[in-house]
Structures are given as C-alpha cells and as structure tokens.
C-alpha cells in the first residue's frame, strides 16, 4: 500500500466522526418516531401537515433568488475588480467585509437601517416620497436582503477566482478577430465561466437554504419566513421530538441535494476543461 495514503487519515477520520456518523445517526433516528406509527411516520407527518410541508417552498423561495442574485451580481463586480488597479486591495476588502460581520450584526444593522423608523424610511418620508414607512423588515424582504448581504462575498470571491483563471489572451485573441466587448463576453468568457458559476450557485444556494438566524431576527419566523431549519429546530429543541427534528433535517438535505444535482447535471453539459490561465 502506498504509505502517502496515510496522509489522508486525519481528513478521513474528521469526515467519519463529524459528518458521516452524525448524519447516519440522524438518519437512523428519523426512522424511529417518538410516538410510534412505523418507520416513515415522521416523514408522513411532515408531508401531511401543510404548515410543515410549506417550509420547503418558503425556504426555496428565499434561497434560490438569493443565490441567483449573488451569482449575477458577482459577475460584473468581479469583472470590474480583476486585473491590477489602484486601490484594488481596499475595494476587495470592502466587498469581502460582510463575511466578518456575521449574520447577527447584519440583522442588527438591517433593523436599524431598513426598519420603520430606520434611516431609509425616515429619509424617504423626509423628501416626501412616501407617507407610510415601507415594510422592509420582519418579512420576506428583510431575510432576502440579509441573505444577499452575507452571501455576496462568497459568490464574489469564487467568481473572481474563476475569472482570473481565464487566460486574458483569449479575450485579446477574440478582439483581434473582430469580437466587440459584448461578443467577447458572450462567446468566450461566459462559456468558460459558466461551470464555475454553476459551482458558485450551488454553494450560495446551500448557504442560503440553511438560513436560520436572519429568518428569526429580520424575518417573520411564524409566517412568511417560517423556513425549514426553524421548523427542525422547534421540533427538536422546543417540542423535544428529536426524531421528527432529524426527519426534517433529512428532508432539508434531500432538497439541497436535489437542487445541487440539478445544477451539476446542467454543468456536465458544458465545457469544463482548462481555461488556459493560472487557475
């Protein structure tokens, strides 16, 4: 046996102990309902109750637009900030800053800024644009804003690294062949960037789908933003039905997996070879 394989041992142990075992344990637990009724009773309960079932849709409705917006916004910003220019480091730092803030601080900021007595509403009322304050927090929009703010840096950093991995001479070659800027983007850069964007979307989506603190803090956790992770949390730690909580977590994993597989399936149709650059 190749002894260098042993180098993988810590990683494998980590994966087994902290991912595979808890996952298997949870999966097993989800098939042992607290009140009996067969192995699938928890799942039946989840899908029979519209209030529970709806959480999938509510979460998707938040996570998919958030991931999409983040990916789409990341492309032009990454375009403007690739290549060396004066002040690049400062701008990149500012763009990545939201990662360091954490969701709670972001939520706090959003409540202060977008709330009924926040700066935005005060300003809009001050210039006479609106009479009633806009309801931007404690609902869907607050959570979406929070997801976009915290998720953007990830999408941006990933997109930037994919973009700088594309050999700049490809664009120059396209230009000497008569392609205008838009054509260079459409025929050369976008096809080479698309597989990376698919991965970026998957990661952004998974991050957003697991939304919990912002749904609780700037959302409407009993109504509009009663997301699936809140339901799992309530089942496990407020009703102390660990088995139901595990079952919901399993449903959550299955939905994420389904979306990711869908995107990766589309990605497999694209060109995924070398892009000629340093990446």
């Amino acid at each position: 046996m190749d002894r260098t394989l042993l180098l993988a041992a810590p990683g494998v142990a980590f994966l087994l102990l902290l991912f595979c075992y808890p996952f298997g344990y949870g999966l097993g637990l989800s098939f042992q309902p607290k009140d009996g009724g067969g192995a699938l009773a928890n799942y039946r309960r989840f899908f029979d109750d519209p209030y529970l079932r709806e959480t999938i849709w509510i979460t998707l409705k938040l996570a998919v637009p958030a991931a999409l917006v983040n990916c789409l916004a990341a492309v032009p910003v990454a375009f403007r900030t690739r290549g060396p220019f004066r002040g690049r480091r400062l701008i990149t730092t500012l763009l990545v800053m939201p990662i360091t803030l954490g969701t709670v601080l972001t939520a706090q900021g959003l409540l202060g800024y977008l709330g009924p007595n926040g700066w935005l509403n005060k300003a809009l009322r001050g210039i006479g644009l609106i009479d009633q304050p806009l309801e931007l927090v404690h609902n869907y929009w607050g959570v979406l804003a929070s997801l976009i703010i915290t998720g953007f840096p990830f999408a941006y950093l990933l997109t930037l690294s994919y973009l700088t991995g594309i050999d700049p001479s490809l664009e120059q070659a396209a230009a000497t062949l008569g392609a205008r800027r838009a054509q260079r983007f459409r025929y050369v850069l976008l096809p080479l960037l698309a597989p990376g964007l698919a991965i970026t979307f998957c990661l952004s989506f998974v991050l957003a789908f697991a939304v919990f603190p912002s749904a609780q803090l700037v959302g409407d956790p009993r109504g509009e933003t009663h997301v699936i992770s809140i339901e799992a949390y309530q089942a496990a730690f407020q009703k102390f039905d660990y088995a139901l909580g595990s079952a919901i977590a399993m449903v959550m994993a299955a939905v994420m997996l389904a979306v990711v597989l869908l995107v990766l399936g589309w990605r497999s149709l694209l060109y995924r070879g070398a892009t000629g650059g340093k990446g």
Partner: protein, 394 residues
C-alpha cells in the same frame, strides 16, 4: 484606405503602414522608444531582440492591445492608433496560441468569420480552405486540448489568416515548439506568406528565425531601434557592436587601432591584423573587433595572409560533425572561438587569420546611449553567441 475597403473579413491590402515615433512606457520605464518603421503591403518584417527589448510591446501596439504613450500609427495616411483592436482588422498569432478551449478547431477558425457576419455557406467554405491550408482538415472536430503543440500552432495561424487580414501579427509563434517542429513550422510560415502574400510582422528573439523568414529585420534593444535592414544587410553589416553580437559575431576582441583608413591596421595580442572600420575609430584608440567563428581560419605556419595572422593555443575542441568548434586563447588571455575542418587537439599551437572585410571594428561605447548599455551588449552577445554554434550545427 485600400481599394477593396477595410472591413475585417474582406481581402484587402494596403500601400504602407507607418509607425511614427511610436512609444510605449509603463510608468517610468520606456518599453518602446520612438520606433520609426514603414511596412509596405505584402512585406514580411521581423522584430528581433532579446526578451525585454520592446518587440512584443511594439506588436501589441500595432494590434491595438496596448495604447501608445507617444507617436502615431498610420495606415495609408490614416491614423489607426486610436482604433480598438476589433476594428483594425489585423490578425494575430499569440505566443501561447490563445485558442478558445471550449470550441472545436473548426469553431476557433470560424470565429472571426462569425464575428464579421460572413454568410454561413461562405464561412464554411473559407474555414474549410483555411483548415486545408494548414493540413488540419482531419482534426476539425477536435478541441484544442486534444491537439499537439504544432497542431495548435497551425490552428492559431489558420484562425488568424482565414479573415485574410490586412496585417498578420505573430508573437514568437514558434518559441513553445521543440527544435525539429520549429524548423518545420518555420518553413510552413514562409510557405504561407509566399502563397497568401499577407503582410506580416513577426516577433522573435531567434536571429536564425528572423534571417530565414523576413524580408526586413528590425533589431531592437531596450526599446530602441538598433538597425533596420534586409537580412543580408544586418547579417553582413551590423550597425553596431550590439547588433553584431546578436548576429553571431561571437568573438568580440579588444584591439588598438594603429593605422588610418577604412581598413585600418589593428594590434591584437601583440600581432598586427587588418579590419574594416564601422564606427570611424581614430588611430591610437581602443576598439572592439567583431569576428564570426566561421570567418576565422587556421593557416599553416609561415604562410602570409592579407589580414595578418594571430598565434593562439587550442584549449577546447568540440566535434560538430563536418567541422570542429574550437576555443583557443591568444597570448594576452583573450578567448577566440573558431570553426575549422583541421583536426586540432588541445594544446596545439596554431596561427589564425580572417579576411579584413570580415573583421568589423567598432568603437568602445558605440552600442548604447548609456554607460551601462555597453555592459548589456556584452552580456547579451555572450548569451546569444553562445546559442549560435548549436543552431549552426542543427
């Protein structure tokens, strides 16, 4: 403008392309300094020099990929240096080929035609013809990643010439290929130029490549033009010591000028030889005599030679097939490189001579403007002269 119009994609040539004091600086560093060059339609011009001499900068300026910081580029009298690259209608072959990895060979070659909105049937026909020209018809459906270096190179050339551009720019297109393939592709490029008659500007650091391909050479150094001339002119009559070193004058000997005239007498290691003055060095001054290894010959003892003879001691002998490459040493310690068919052995005492017209005499500081430039010239000539024997034996 050319009679057939200038839209990219149409066959068109031009009368002349003028670079007028074209300059490009990066910050305080002058990469290209006041290049003056007139390229006539159909001509093959090589920009030659070591890395960092400004030749690629010049090419990128022509392509429109780098804005100028000074000067102008005129195509038949019309300024084009502000035009975006996509509006110049010049084809370019990149050093790393820059093939679109997600497109097939056909897709790559057809790309420019698609951008120019050439009708499909016509585009297909022209693509087929370009693929045929570079012998890649059988590989048309493949992706660039599935091709060898030489094949990728040919795709890059086909992609650039399929539009029949007014000007083809080639940036060291052969430098990533191995020696045998390089020779083959060199012939191929020359053949394509003869067949299509496309005006070409070719950048290289290899003087053999430049000499064999180009109608005219531009030798650059530190962004400044050193010499512009036909291969014969540059090879036989280098303008200065730097160009001489670059052109394979491997022996750069310290001499003292002891006689007047266009073929002055020189003193070298206590012997008298005759050279050809290139810089007007006054009598009594120290100078550099540039001689190619292949212009030195070993003469039998006692035979007089019109240029005078030099005694030397053989140090290293390399077998190069038809001839030997010999390093000998003069009595004053200067090394002498020569090629001979005589069977010499180390420690042999020989007499060496060269025809006076092949001993070029340059002033001591002629090569550059700055003092440190002279040092560079020596360094460069050593580097490139060092490559020369290998190239000759190939």
């Amino acid at each position: 403008m050319s009679p057939s119009g200038s839209s990219p994609g149409s066959t068109s040539s031009f009368g002349s392309l003028c670079c007028e004091r074209v300059s490009r600086s990066f910050g305080r560093q002058r990469a290209l300094h006041e290049l003056d060059l007139e390229i006539r339609g159909g001509e093959f011009v090589a920009l030659l020099g070591p890395s960092g001499c400004g030749k690629s900068t010049a090419l990128n300026c022509l392509a429109g990929l780098l804005p100028l910081t000074g000067g102008a580029i005129l195509l038949d009298g019309e300024r084009i240096d502000r035009l975006a690259p996509e509006r110049r209608g010049f084809g370019m072959v990149f050093q790393n080929y820059a093939l679109f990895p997600h497109m097939t060979v056909r897709g790559n070659v057809a790309f420019g035609l698609k951008m120019a909105r050439v009708p499909k049937a016509r585009a297909r026909e022209r693509t087929d013809r370009a693929l045929e020209l570079v012998h890649l018809t059988a590989h048309a459906h493949k992706r660039p990643g599935q091709l060898s270096g030489g094949q990728q190179q040919r795709v890059a050339i086909a992609r650039a010439v399929v539009l029949e551009p007014r000007l083809v720019l080639m940036d060291e297109p052969l430098s990533n290929l191995d020696a045998a393939l390089r020779l083959e592709m060199r012939t191929e490029i020359r053949r394509l130029h003869q067949r299509l008659g496309l005006t070409t500007v070719y950048v290289t650091h290899d003087q053999e490549e430049a000499l064999s391909l180009a109608d005219r050479l531009v030798v650059l150094r530190d962004g400044r033009t050193q010499q512009i001339g036909t291969p014969e002119e540059v090879y036989a009559r280098p303008a200065n010591r730097y160009v001489a070193g670059f052109m394979g004058y491997r022996n750069m000997l310290d001499v003292t000028v002891t006689g007047p005239g266009p073929t002055p007498a020189l003193t070298l290691a206590g012997s008298r030889i005759t050279g050809t003055d290139r810089d007007g060095v006054p009598v009594g001054e120290r100078a550099t005599a540039a001689v190619r290894p292949e212009d030195l010959e070993v003469v039998p003892d006692g035979t007089p030679h019109p240029g005078g003879t030099l005694p030397a001691t053989v140090e290293v002998v390399e077998y190069h097939g038809r001839e030997l490459a010999v390093q000998a040493r003069l009595s004053d310690g200067q090394a002498l490189h020569l090629r001979t068919r005589e069977r010499l052995a180390p420690d042999d005492e020989v007499r060496v001579a060269a025809p006076p017209e092949r001993v070029l005499v340059f002033g001591p500081d002629d090569a550059g403007d700055a003092d440190d430039a002279g040092e560079d010239a020596r360094g460069d000539s050593a580097t490139y002269a060092g490559k020369r024997p290998k190239a000759v034996s190939a």
